[in-house]
């Protein structure tokens, strides 16, 4: 199915691939979610006024994909030069986004790579997380490896095998086996670790 640019289209369940033209709006015809059993390819910016379930999604050019609900993707999300804003929950196997990912209600995936910033209003559950700039999480972080080039802020608990942050990491305690921070590392809660390596300043605070 092909949606022409700048159109608003209602979709219920689609058994084939979907191509969405630039600056289009799509929404569920009935129910809360659009279900696409094939791939969804966006030409440029797109507003999705409901949850979206798809096999995979990709963005041809740069742009912003805005989902008013959950985004549940079976395989991959590839927005190489784009932004992904999800008001609800983001779930996928692999996520690769060039600029920004916002997940209002948390995210779960096998691996996520974001060039710019990653913001999560809930928990983050991912085996491998790589963020070039800033990562901010309101909930817990659970995974294997987390790498952030700039600044990491986690309000909940962090449970990781390896944490690498180039600049500043502020967490609220947890269990992290290997911690490497170039600049400043702050933990405001009970922290269990094996290795803590900080280039500048480490502040470890315990609130009993």
């Amino acid at each position: 199915m092909r949606i022409e640019p700048r159109k608003t289209v209602e979709i219920d369940v689609l058994e084939e691939d979907l191509f969405v033209g630039a600056y289009s709006t799509i929404k569920a015809k009935t129910g809360e979610a659009i279900i696409v059993k094939g791939n969804v390819e966006f030409e440029r910016d797109c507003n999705i006024l409901s949850s979206l379930r798809a096999y995979s999604i990709s963005l041809e050019n740069g742009g912003k994909i805005n989902v008013q609900g959950d985004l549940i993707v079976e395989k991959s999300v590839r927005l190489e030069d784009g932004e992904l804003l999800v008001s609800g929950r983001l779930e996928a196997e692999d996520v690769d986004v060039g600029k920004l990912v916002k997940a209002g209600n948390g995210l779960k995936c096998r691996s996520i790579s974001v060039g710019g910033g990653l913001e999560s209003g809930g928990d983050v559950d991912a085996e491998n997380i790589s963020v070039g700039g800033t990562m901010s999480v309101q909930g817990n972080v659970k995974g294997s490896r987390l790498g952030v080039g700039g600044t990491l802020t986690v309000k909940g608990l962090t449970e990781l095998e390896k944490l690498e942050v180039g600049g500043v990491a502020r967490i609220n305690g947890g269990i992290i086996m290997d911690i490497n921070v170039g600049g400043v590392f702050e933990s405001a809660g009970k922290l269990v670790f094996e290795r803590l390596n900080v280039g500048g300043v480490a502040r470890l605070k315990v609130v009993d």
Binding site: E194, L196, N197, V198, V206
Partner: protein, 198 residues
């Protein structure tokens, strides 16, 4: 236990607002622990400050100052500047500048550097007081007071005092006393020395 880990390496400052238990700590600058501190091996370039008790199983090496609010228990303690604690119990203590304890310092070996100052009693099998240094009461198996150093009271099995040393109170010894010229003291050979305070 608030902070628990194995290896900690920090280039600048490590600040722990609570207690900490780790195997090895290496910090280039300053370490400050608000609770108690337990480690196997510690190396700090500048200053180590612990508000409560501290226990370092193997070696505590600090370039500057060690300041422990409670009791320090350690293997070998080496501080370039000063060591302050309520009490210190260690295998060895070697400090360049000043040692200050309220209850005392007990170790197998104790050395204070040239022009150093020791406040509080020292109890050790071997005690070496550097040139021009001063110490209060010393309870030693073997005591060496180097040139121009001074002590308040000395209770030693053997004591060797270089020239210019002063003992302002009494010097009691059991086996041997060697004095170099110009050393003036009030010494007495005894059968048994008084019990040390720590």
């Amino acid at each position: 236990m608030g902070i628990k880990g194995t290896h900690v390496s920090v280039g600048g400052v490590l600040n722990v607002d609570g207690s900490m238990e780790v195997d090895e700590v290496r910090v280039g600058g300053t370490v400050e622990v608000k609770g108690f501190f337990k480690a196997k091996k510690v190396s700090v370039g500048g200053r180590l400050k612990v508000d409560e008790n501290a226990s370092v199983e193997d070696r505590l090496e600090v370039g500057g100052v060690v300041k422990i609010g409670g009791e320090l228990k350690a293997g070998m303690v080496e501080a370039g500047g000063a060591l302050e604690a309520d009490a210190c119990f260690a295998d060895g203590v070697k400090v360049g500048g000043k040692v200050e304890t309220r209850r005392g310092c007990r170790s197998k070996t104790f050395e204070i550097g040239r022009k150093g100052r020791v406040i509080g009693p020292v109890v050790a099998e071997y005690v070496k007081i550097g040139r021009d240094a001063s110490v209060e009461d010393v309870y030693a198996g073997r005591l060496e007071l180097l040139e121009n150093s001074s002590a308040r009271n000395v209770y030693a099995r053997e004591a060797y005092l270089k020239h210019g040393c002063r003992v302002s109170g009494e010097l009691l010894y059991v086996e041997k006393l060697e004095l170099e010229r110009l050393t003036q003291i009030n010494s007495r050979k005894v059968e048994k020395l008084p019990e040390p305070p720590v």
